[in-house]
């Protein structure tokens, strides 16, 4: 038996004596939540040792991409913290997000602009790992697409939100990424991870 399975077994036992540090950790996904929305059901680490799911992840526009209703339901489960953001620089392009003053700000040399990207739900420090598909520009007729940016973002404030997002992505075969800012710039990618209960990558 692989050691990864062993610790997961431990993990299930540990649930009984879980240590909780902060208030946000005390808010956890419950059986009642799962009864209302089965898409956020927990995985069972002890059932399978080999992955038997689909070979590819669901993709927007594809047949297995969750429906609007399913996204809306998971948004209800996580207290409405699900975001569907447009890229930050979409303010520079013709469309719903167009905002000339916001665009001028993004093009300005002020140091605060960097902070705007750090506080943006989609962006990491550089654009190129995400496809460079929406750069700030003076040409509103240019092209700005979602590119490598995530489609949905769970703006988590409790452990319950994290658990529901992980479970939904696993159950619905959706790619899951976690935004982080590590020390080395070239690692500032939102690393895609494989989510499945029985295999610890």
């Amino acid at each position: 038996m692989p050691s990864s399975i062993l610790w997961l077994t431990f993990g299930l036992l540990i649930q009984l004596i879980e240590a909780v540090n902060f208030p946000f950790e005390q808010v956890q996904l419950t059986a009642e939540d799962v009864a209302i929305n089965q898409d956020v059901g927990f995985g069972n680490a002890s059932l399978e040792t080999e992955y038997r799911g689909p070979p590819c992840k669901a993709f927007p526009g594809g047949p297995d991409w969750p429906t609007e209703e399913e996204w809306s339901a998971v948004n209800d489960t996580i207290d409405g913290v699900l975001l569907k953001p447009a890229p930050l620089a979409s303010a520079c392009y013709t469309g719903q997000s167009y905002d000339a003053s916001r665009c001028r700000y993004l093009l300005s040399p002020m140091s605060g602009v960097r902070r705007a990207y750090l506080d943006d739900p989609l962006s990491v420090l550089t654009q190129w790992p995400q496809g460079t598909t929406c750069l700030p520009s003076l040409d509103p007729g240019g092209r700005c697409t979602q590119g490598g940016f995530p489609v949905y973002v769970a703006n988590v404030t409790t452990v319950k939100h994290i658990q529901a997002a992980v479970n939904f992505a696993r159950n619905k075969n959706v790619r899951l990424v976690i935004k982080f800012v590590p020390l080395v710039l070239f690692l500032s990618i939102s690393a895609p991870i494989v989510v499945r209960a029985n295999k610890q990558v």
Binding site: E25, V156, V159, K179, L183, S190, R196
Partner: protein, 129 residues
């Protein structure tokens, strides 16, 4: 890298607590615990407030745990105190099956080992260190 994905954004998990007396195995002494949205510059401010030193990354906008020590955790004090991944006493993580679990040298020790240098984003979500 995130095309067609759902992203978990921990930016607002900024809880922090300074523990004057914490015991884990052979270690007894000062410790801090904080949420995975805390940035290093915010950790600097807490260091000043409590007059303590926490081994941390150099650049202030780097996330103070998770991705940083997931790759080892280099910083200005590494030659003196070791890497960031050497400092962790206990980690709370959400595993791929959706459970919140504690990892430390005695509880889920192999996951605790993997989280400290196994590569960021490879294992699980880390709500608190």
């Amino acid at each position: 890298m995130g095309a067609g994905s759902l992203s978990i954004w921990t930016h607002h998990l900024k809880s922090f607590e300074y523990l004057t007396n914490y015991t884990m195995g052979n270690y007894t002494g000062m410790a801090v615990r904080f949420g995975s949205g805390l940035e290093t510059q915010e950790l600097f401010n807490y260091m000043a407030l409590h007059n303590i030193t926490v081994v941390a990354a150099g650049p202030g906008t780097v996330g103070a745990n998770g991705g940083w020590f997931g790759y080892g955790g280099h910083g200005n004090l590494a030659s003196y105190y070791g890497l960031g991944s050497d400092q962790a006493l206990s980690l709370e993580v959400v595993t791929a099956d959706g459970r919140l679990v504690t990892t430390d040298p005695f509880t889920n020790p192999d996951l605790f080992y993997a989280l400290r240098g196994g590569g960021a984003g490879k294992q699980k979500e880390v709500p608190t260190a």
